[in-house]
Symmetry: C2
Subunit: 305 residues, 2 copies
């Protein structure tokens, strides 16, 4: 098993999605630039959703275009449907993360269609890519939200998550992202479900996306590592929050996640000091937002190298 | 391996030790009472240190006396030296946690003697108990602070931690508490060191004490569980902070710790709802302190039972 682990920054998408401050395009690109310089190889830079729903991302094409120009950076972008995927491809996307929910209730609430309908749409996105002859140029990841439970419908069946993962892999997904956007996952469940998913996705790599809503985010990362997952999403300063509970914590903080991974002997390729400097800048870019994360308050341990 | 796990509340000692608000004795006892009613079987209620050093604990004997009267509660108390142990025994203590540091630098800084001298003193405490014919009436735990590294001296040798644990067990310790009070531990290190300690302490149970200073507190609890540890310290609302970094997080939050343990299928005997109600009261008891913990902001998951 490799000791390299990839941390994908999602603060510019999952983080900014939930804050009220509209960050200028220039600042978004400065953020991308700085974090790429700190060693990040992939950043989810924006979301191709209707600007009427999320004004934060009305500059999606511009941000993507700017991020594509950053040397060595894979700029990924989230899409919730075919229309978003088409816009992303038109804008030159090299990696698209298509999100659907394993929870019927959440999928209906989020995109007003059934999970099966979203799966069919995922297939159409793959066909769109093929029709453009861009199969080798654009990676497409399938994100399975609410894989560990849903705040609307409660429990989500693990066999359903595996079924979705299996279908997405069969359609040609380049990555399956198993996501817990409500902080419902616990370490034992993470080990169990990620192993099950791995058994149905063959060679397709698995990524995991955890929120720290109930404090278990990093424990879940450690659990994912134990069963061989080597791709994790995180948000600088834990930016993001939770739409259902004001003041609650959102994504795991990137700096704490990288610190955990490096501490247990894995290699992220990220310069910890440079990362903490970008984290410091985030305070200035988002003066009205409450940021989370432990490491930024205290710095690395004397024993850390 | 048992599925019962014991969570010891240390907020009244480790938490209050670092806050500026002096909590009235009556409130301390109300806190003990409420948390015992929520299912806690052990609470570290105070510390027998010189009141000139920690005025917060000038009511140590009174608090201990009140806590001893709470039905079903084991009221433990911390001591840093023989004098404190004598005071605790005089006050009727049933469990004493004697703390020393595996870091020479920290032990010198904390109690102005070498770790070996503290070990010799631990032996004197055991003899004091024996001379009072109270071996079966008073439990004595040995706490090994800075077991995972020290903010003063840096790394701490694992063989030294094991040596100390082995000696304390040989002297008759009823529990060995492996402590990380600076948030230096990571999950891989936790598994490794706790297994090593377990191999030298024979039948003496191991407890673990983690701080969340760098975000890994609960990941470390999960790691401890995996290698069989079934006793954990935690502080309500993560009360405590860090003396070396203003604003930094201290102990892991009791409510988040209990929630993790129950989520992964262990039984704490604690009523989650009742615990969250005590947590709510803590906001009123300590209006000037910044409390931590995730769960109190958002509540349990819909899937939690």
């Amino acid at each position: 098993m490799t000791d390299h682990v990839s941390v994908r920054e999602v603060g510019l998408r999952d983080g900014l999605q939930l804050v009220s401050t509209i960050l200028p395009t220039k600042t978004k690109l400065e953020w991308c630039q700085e974090q790429a310089a700190a060693g990040f190889r992939e950043i989810e830079v924006t979301s191709f959703v209707p600007p009427s729903i999320l004004p934060q991302f009305s500059d999606a094409a511009e941000v993507l275009s700017g991020a594509l120009a950053i040397d060595g950076l894979l700029a990924s972008t989230l899409v919730p449907n075919l229309k978003g995927a088409v816009r992303a491809m038109d804008a030159g996307a090299r990696k698209i993360t298509f999100v659907l929910s394993a929870s019927e209730a959440h999928n209906q609430s989020n995109v007003r269609r059934s999970t099966d309908e979203s799966l069919a749409m995922f297939r159409e996105v793959m066909e769109e890519r093929a029709s453009r002859n861009l199969v080798d140029e654009i990676q497409i990841a399938g994100v399975i939200a609410k894989s560990f439970g849903c705040s609307l419908q409660g429990s989500v069946s693990e066999s359903r998550v595996c079924e979705i993962a299996n279908l997405m892999a069969g359609y040609g997904a380049d990555e399956i992202n198993v996501a817990d956007t409500v902080g419902y996952a616990n370490p034992v469940q993470v080990e169990r479900l990620l192993q099950k998913v791995d058994s149905v996705t063959g060679a397709v790599p698995i990524a995991a996306h955890f929120h720290d809503t109930r404090g278990m985010g990093l424990a879940n990362v450690a659990a994912g590592v134990r069963v061989g997952v080597r791709r994790f999403d995180a948000s600088l300063g834990g930016l993001g929050g939770c739409p259902f509970a004001p003041g609650a914590t959102g994504n795991i903080a990137t700096e704490d996640c990288v610190y955990l991974l490096e501490s247990i002997g894995l290699s992220t390729g990220i310069d910890m000091q440079a990362l903490l400097e970008v984290r410091e800048k985030l305070n200035n870019w988002l003066t009205d937002e409450r940021l989370e994360g432990r490491l930024s308050k205290v710095g690395v341990a004397k024993t850390f190298s």
